[in-house]
C-alpha cells in the first residue's frame, strides 16, 4: 500500500520519503550533467543528445520495471496518482514550455540542480518560473474553456489506441533502442 492509495501523501512520514526520493532524483540529474544549462540546451543545436538519451532511458527503465512488477501483481499502476489528459493545454503548454526551456536554459527540476551547483542563471530562471506560475493563476479566468479543451480523463496510450499494454511497452522499447543506435552511429560518423 503506497501513501497515495491510503490518502496519506499529506503526512510528515510521506514528506520524509519524498525528501529522500528527491535527493536521489537530484543526484542522478547532476551525475548526468543536468546541472549545466549548456549541456541541457546542446541537444537543440545537435551537439549533445544526453537529454534525449537520459530521458528516454529513464522512461523505458521505469516503464519496463513497472510493467513487469504489474504482471506479477506486485504493483498496480491504477493505484497511483495519474494526471488526467487534457490535450489542448498539454500540447500548447508543451510548445510554450519547449521555447522556455531552450531560451531559459533549464527546466524546473534541473534548475534546482543548477542552483545547487552555484549557477546564477538557474536562480534567475526559477525566479522567472515563479512569476510565470503567478501569472497563470491570475490569467486562469480568461483561459476558461481552453483549459478543458480535449479533456479525456485518465487516458493511457494502450486504451486510446486499443492495443495491449505489453505491445505498447515493446514498441516504446524498440523505438528508444532504434533512436539510441541511430544517435551513436551518427555521432561516430560525424566525429570521423
Amino acid at each position: 500500500m503506497n501513501f497515495f492509495e491510503q490518502d496519506l501523501l499529506g503526512t510528515p512520514q510521506a514528506w520524509a520519503y519524498a525528501l529522500v526520493i528527491g535527493a536521489a532524483f537530484g543526484f542522478w540529474l547532476e551525475r548526468a550533467g543536468f546541472g549545466s544549462s549548456r549541456k541541457l540546451t546542446a541537444m537543440f543545436f545537435l551537439r549533445d543528445f544526453a537529454v534525449l538519451q537520459v530521458m528516454f532511458t529513464a522512461i523505458v527503465t521505469a516503464l519496463v520495471v513497472l510493467h513487469v512488477l504489474g504482471l506479477f501483481g506486485w504493483v498496480d499502476v491504477t493505484h497511483v496518482y495519474r494526471t488526467e489528459t487534457v490535450l489542448a493545454p498539454q500540447i500548447v503548454g508543451g510548445l510554450v514550455f519547449g521555447v522556455g526551456f531552450v531560451a531559459g536554459g533549464w527546466c524546473p527540476g534541473t534548475a534546482l540542480v543548477g542552483v545547487a551547483s552555484g549557477k546564477l542563471d538557474a536562480l534567475v530562471f526559477l525566479g522567472g518560473a515563479m512569476l510565470g506560475s503567478v501569472a497563470y493563476a491570475f490569467a486562469l479566468p480568461s483561459l476558461a474553456g481552453f483549459t478543458e479543451l480535449g479533456a479525456c480523463g485518465i487516458s493511457t496510450l494502450p486504451e486510446w489506441l486499443g492495443i495491449s499494454p505489453t505491445w505498447i511497452v515493446i514498441a516504446v522499447v524498440a523505438m528508444a533502442v532504434s533512436v539510441f543506435v541511430f544517435l551513436e552511429r551518427w555521432q561516430k560518423a560525424r566525429a570521423a
Binding site: 537530484g26 548526468a32 527503465t61 487534457v86 508543451g94 510548445l95 527546466c107 524546473p108 530562471f125 510565470g132
Partner: protein
C-alpha cells in the same frame, strides 16, 4: 586553480538510475517525480506576502491555503531533496562553482534576461500542462499517459523550433 571536475556519467547509466528512482517513487509514494509544483507553491507563498487578499481569493491558489501553508506538500519536500542531492553530487564531483553559463555571443545581461523570460514561459506552461518535464514527460510518460506523451513531443517541437532564434545565446 580549482581541482578538475570529474566527467559526467554515461547517459544510459544515468537514465537507468533516474528510472529506478521513479519506480521507487511510484511504489513508495504512489506518485511520480515532480518539480514545477513546488516552484508554483513557493510562488504562491511569496505572492501572498505582497498581496494576501488577492492570492488567497484566487481560484487557483486558494485550495493550497485551505489546510495551512501551500508548502506543506510532498512535492515541496521532494524539491528540497533535489537541491540537497544535486548539491551532494556536484560537491563530490568538484562541480560546485558560482557562475553564469552562456555562449560567446551573449552578454551576462542578455543571458540573465533570457533565463528570466524562459523561466516565466516554463513556469506558466507547466501550470497550464499540469506538470513539467519531470511530472508530465518523465513520470506520466512511464505510465503511458496520453497527455504526457503529447506534452513531451510538444516540448521537443517547441524547443527545436525556437532554437534558431536563441542560437547566439548558446554559441560555442
Amino acid at each position: 586553480m580549482q581541482r578538475q571536475a570529474t566527467p559526467f556519467w554515461n547517459p544510459y547509466l544515468s537514465g537507468i538510475g533516474l528510472g529506478l528512482v521513479l519506480v521507487l517513487s511510484y511504489v513508495v509514494l504512489g506518485a511520480g517525480l515532480g518539480a514545477s509544483g513546488a516552484i508554483a507553491r513557493t510562488s504562491a507563498v511569496l505572492a501572498d506576502r505582497v498581496a494576501p487578499v488577492a492570492v488567497e481569493q484566487n481560484a487557483y491558489f486558494s485550495p493550497w491555503f485551505a489546510d495551512g501553508s501551500p508548502l506543506a506538500h510532498y512535492l515541496v519536500f521532494m524539491a528540497v531533496g533535489v537541491l540537497l542531492g544535486g548539491f551532494g553530487s556536484a560537491l563530490s564531483a568538484g562541480r560546485v562553482a558560482p557562475g553564469i553559463e552562456r555562449g560567446a555571443g551573449a552578454s551576462v545581461f542578455v543571458r540573465l534576461g533570457f533565463a528570466l523570460g524562459g523561466g516565466a514561459l516554463a513556469g506558466f506552461a507547466s501550470r497550464m500542462a499540469q506538470g513539467c518535464t519531470s511530472g508530465q514527460a518523465l513520470s506520466g510518460g512511464a505510465l503511458l499517459l496520453s497527455g504526457s506523451w503529447a506534452f513531451m513531443f510538444a516540448v521537443f517541437a517547441g524547443a527545436f523550433g525556437a532554437a534558431w532564434f536563441v542560437r547566439k545565446e548558446w554559441q560555442a
